[in-house]
């Protein structure tokens, strides 16, 4: 068996068994952190499609997470089941992503980054100001409203560990979709656009449509994660969706390895997981320093190891070839 397969199976078994051990040792906080890690991993796998595969820097990804979360709570408070909300959220998230992407995707890389940043801030400000829909800074649900619990047949999810397994299920789904996408004709078209837009166009790829597709698909991952998060935590407010959260995701991707699924997950684990797990060891004062360390890490990685810690095979080859040709 190849090393890669062994690694995947080990990771999968750990993901299933680890929370059971924590549950047995009554370490509930750790399970909560693992759930959050799962959410971040779904976001990273989604964002990886835009940044990693297609090479479009997106600095406002949290906007779509926020849209998914707000749709989740608003519809759930109206008594709609989670399983119906998921497709609705995917559809609305995708539509917003399409409406943003259609006019702006022809912009050059750095301009696009700023436009997505602006859109992220507009979304957050509107969530803050549109009281009738979002209850402003007080957040949702309003007093008297409740979030409908998720049930699978007759089993109702109650504890963190139930939600953890739900998140792992969706994460696995996200990974499979992303993996199949990467190795499809469309995925190769994404990479071709990242490498050279003109050459891709000349090879018969419809660049603007393909970019738009990548943009919309990745936005849907964001809304999915948002809807799950909203059902799990049961409360959301605009504060959770700041610009720095979007940047945090970009840090995860860059440090983990842009364009590689395992890199995206590793990045989520390092940036969101390690500080939380080190909290009991190093004291909570350490948490304050984490952004400083991540910022430094971002600069160091992009200068000395631009392919990230766990690079994709394809990307690694390219970077090495570029070095040889210089």
């Amino acid at each position: 068996m190849k090393f890669k397969n062994i690694a995947i199976i080990t990771a999968f078994i750990t993901a299933i068994v680890l929370p059971l051990i924590m549950q047995a040792s009554a370490n509930y906080y750790a399970i909560h952190v693992l759930g959050l890690l799962g959410i971040y991993a779904i976001l990273c796998v989604g964002l990886n499609i835009t940044i990693g595969y297609t090479g479009l820097l997106d600095l406002g990804f949290m906007a779509f997470y926020a849209i998914g979360a707000y749709i989740g709570i608003i519809l759930s408070a109206k008594g709609i089941s989670f399983w119906y909300i998921i497709p609705i959220s995917l559809f609305i998230g995708g539509t917003f992503r399409y409406l943003l992407g259609a006019p702006v995707l022809r912009l050059r890389g750095d301009y696009l980054a700023i436009v997505t940043l602006a859109f992220g801030e507009i979304t957050r400000l509107l969530l803050n100001n549109l009281d009738f829909l979002t209850n402003g800074p007080k957040g949702l649900p309003r007093v008297g409203e409740t979030v409908l619990p998720i049930s699978i047949f007759s089993f109702t999810l109650r504890n963190d560990i139930h939600f953890y397994y739900l998140i792992v299920f969706f994460l696995a789904l996200a990974i499979i979709v992303s993996y199949r996408l990467e190795h499809s004709r469309l995925g190769r078209a994404f990479v071709a656009i990242r490498e050279d837009e003109t050459a891709a166009e000349l090879s018969g790829i419809n660049v603007s449509n393909t970019k738009l597709l990548a943009f919309v698909i990745s936005g849907m991952f964001g809304s999915l994660a948002g809807t799950i998060y909203a059902h799990w935590i049961g409360f959301i407010s605009p504060e959770s969706f700041t610009f720095w959260e979007s940047i945090f995701l970009v840090c995860m991707l860059v440090i983990g390895g842009m364009g590689s699924i395992s890199g995206a997950i590793l990045g989520a684990f390092i940036l969101a997981g390690i500080p939380e797990f080190l909290r009991p060891v190093l004291g909570s004062g350490f948490i304050d320093y984490r952004m400083l360390i991540f910022g430094l890490l971002l600069v160091v990685v992009i200068i000395f190891r631009p392919q990230g810690l766990l690079p994709s095979k394809r990307r690694n080859l390219e970077l090495r070839m570029n070095k040889n040709s210089e």
């Binding site: 820097l57 702006v104 980054a113 436009v115 507009i122 304050d288 400083l292 971002l298």
Partner: protein
């Protein structure tokens, strides 16, 4: 109301214009968005506060104290910008285009957290600047607003003279035009880049100091919104174009105060961001920008 918004808009606009100059000059030379510029702006304000409190005689805003404070701000924020360039951007000169932007985001996180962790995570007051108010029709203007406006205009005129009349300015323009050709003409492009960062950083730092004086307090995250707005101003005027940044700055200041006054003060930032998106979508070259065709 109209005149009052006009006065506020011009004051705000002159601060935006000063910051926008830093974005536009760096973009002109390196074609990169210097995302960390908004933190240089923030740190400029902190350097100003430090200079004002370190030397007690300055806190009363005597003329000499004032000049020295501004020189300190100018020098240190310029040097900070140059060292950021040397450490974080220079190694990435040959890298893909998005790498310097990501590196700049990292620098921005680092600078902001340094101030938050080692200086203060609360807003800090600046020594009070005594002002007298004047009445113009139904509007009020104070000495601070007049000072900010005149001081920024003076700095911009100086910069314009420097770029158009001196030998250094000429070398800078040549570098912006083409690194390799200007190098063949005997211009050291990497010292020109350092100079661009110094000037941009110095202006940004002074803008931070002025901003702090205008609002009376400074905070570690004060750079973000003015930074994005100044970038919008640079785009509005035509990025890479120095006069465009000045025009864009004033225009954006006016757009902001008028939309706050006549449309909705709650949504003034939303309007600014919409201006940014619309501008980039419909006329990315800006008002004064030239049409540059994308090179293959």
């Amino acid at each position: 109301m109209f005149i009052q918004q006009l006065i506020n808009g011009l004051t705000l606009g002159s601060i935006y214009a000063l910051i926008a100059l830093g974005y536009t000059m760096v973009y002109g030379v390196l074609l990169m968005i210097n995302f960390a510029h908004s933190e240089i702006f923030m740190i400029g304000a902190y350097i100003g506060l430090w200079a004002l409190t370190a030397i007690p005689a300055f806190a009363s805003f005597t003329i000499t104290g004032f000049i020295i404070t501004f020189l300190v701000v100018l020098l240190f924020s310029g040097l900070l910008a140059v060292s950021v360039e040397k450490l974080a951007y220079k190694p990435l000169r040959q890298a893909p285009r998005l790498s310097p932007l990501i590196s700049a985001i990292g620098v921005s996180i680092v600078l902001q957290n340094l101030i938050m962790l080692f200086v203060s995570n609360q807003s800090m007051p600046l020594p009070e600047f005594k002002t007298t108010r004047y009445q113009i029709f139904s509007a009020e203007v104070d000495t601070l607003q007049i000072f900010i406006f005149c001081f920024s205009i003076a700095l911009m005129l100086l910069l314009n003279l420097f770029i158009s009349k001196t030998k250094f300015g000429k070398a800078m323009r040549a570098t912006a035009h083409s690194h390799s050709v200007s190098q063949l003409m005997g211009i050291n492009s990497s010292s020109m880049i350092a100079m661009v960062f110094f000037i941009g950083g110095a202006l940004g730092g002074i803008a931070g100091m002025l901003n702090g004086m205008y609002y009376g307090s400074i905070k570690y995250n004060m750079g973000f919104f003015p930074g994005i707005k100044a970038f919008t101003a640079a785009v509005l005027g035509g990025i890479g174009n120095v006069k465009g940044a000045m025009l864009g700055g004033f225009l954006l200041g006016l757009i902001e105060t008028f939309s706050a006054g006549y449309i909705s003060s709650q949504n003034k930032d939303v309007i600014t961001f919409c201006v940014l998106i619309l501008m980039l979508v419909f006329k990315p070259t800006g008002i004064l920008g030239e049409n540059v065709t994308e090179k293959v």
